[in-house]
Symmetry: C2
Subunit: 198 residues, 2 copies
DNA sequence: TTAGTAAGTAAACGTTTGTTTACTATTAAA
DNA sequence: TTTAATAGTAAACAAACGTTTACTTACTAA
């Protein structure tokens, strides 16, 4: 049996992500994707059932998976609250900083009816990702270290501004005076921690 | 001269928004839009140059415009810091609560290459929206009421969690126990204000 | 009352869409 | 060296795409 060519599989994924991020999902077609990857359209259908299947697997495996891995690098749920939150903040910002594609796809995931549908069908909920962070937060509530908000609310308060800050970084990237310096980022993190601690 | 039928114009806009929010931008076609609005495709081209023009005007006028109006209702830039921030929080949440479509389109706007391109071409920047809020924030920095972050950073810290909280509200809407109660929302607002005040 | 004009329609334009058919290439196992 | 099976290709399919052409309708100003 002829073995799969994993280089082709990788090409399909990376080129698809590039087109979505740079030209928008509405401009991703199977034929365009095949052409840019130098393969026949049929080859995509060997690896994915159809376009919807491709998009969903792309998002769950590549976007969410890589994001989670980058964010949790070096994070231990036994860290103290300040240390843990700061670690996640720096990891997240570092990841998006060198990876604008992921930022765009992440935002896209929040609004896409297709992906929301897929998540419901597969019974995937947000708690399945970042489980160590959730346990970390729960422990710190029990400890009495932080205010007792529902997990989803804590996640919003602690990490939602990060996506906007990453975007702010891109907006001003070409300008002479960088706005999101390490100091600003660190001060932001402090401000948020301050408001959430008991 | 035969006058424009404004009901048709309104139908085009509201149906287009519905399709984008419920089925995704990739499923909005001019023919589908015309069919659902009970008009000829040609009629859309009387009111908009092409599909891109329709999408951009739709987003700037309907989505951003209505959002700004709802958020600023009853807000005065002379309010004191806590009062002003709380007003915006409650307005925003109330708006998204009864208007999930806008939430989805708002998120879409953040990721869409098409809209980002349009903003650059037209020299629209975020400062053009919510000017009263920006002046309000600047005054409170000068006052020494709050920490001296760049405006874009303050905006992220103060208002970014709101979008996620609105989504959290939807996620749990059908469940017996509501998570985002008025009390939780108010406590969140307090926590953020606490971290930002000097 | 009528002439002029923009609004609107029905139907079609050439392209591109997602996907499939019919075929060839490449490899592991027998 | 042959066999069986999957990977991959080139070309095509009907359907849908954005947009336009040719025409009709409805109203205003003269």
């Amino acid at each position: 049996m002829r073995p799969k060519d994993f280089e082709k599989e990788e090409a399909i994924r990376s080129i698809a992500l590039r087109i979505i991020a740079e030209e928008g999902l509405e401009n991703l077609s199977m034929q365009k994707l095949a052409k840019e990857a130098n393969i026949s359209p049929r080859t995509i259908y060997i690896k994915y059932e159809n376009k919807e299947d491709l998009l969903i697997k792309l998002f769950i495996d590549e976007v969410l998976g890589n994001y989670e891995k980058a964010v949790l690098e070096g994070f231990e749920e036994t860290m103290n609250f300040e240390e843990g939150v700061r670690k996640i903040w720096l990891n997240t910002f570092k990841y998006f900083k060198s990876n604008r594609q992921s930022y765009i796809l992440m935002q896209y995931g929040k609004s896409s009816p297709l992906l929301n549908k897929a998540f419901k069908e597969r019974n995937i909920n947000e708690g399945d990702f970042f489980a160590p962070v959730h346990r970390f937060l729960k422990r710190n509530i029990k400890n009495g270290t932080i205010k007792s908000f529902p997990i989803g609310v804590l996640r919003a308060l602690l990490f939602a501004p990060l996506l906007d800050l990453s975007n702010e970084y891109f907006e001003y990237k070409e300008r002479p005076k960088q706005i999101i310096t390490e100091k600003v980022l660190s001060d932001c993190c402090d401000a948020i921690i301050e408001g959430i601690k008991l």
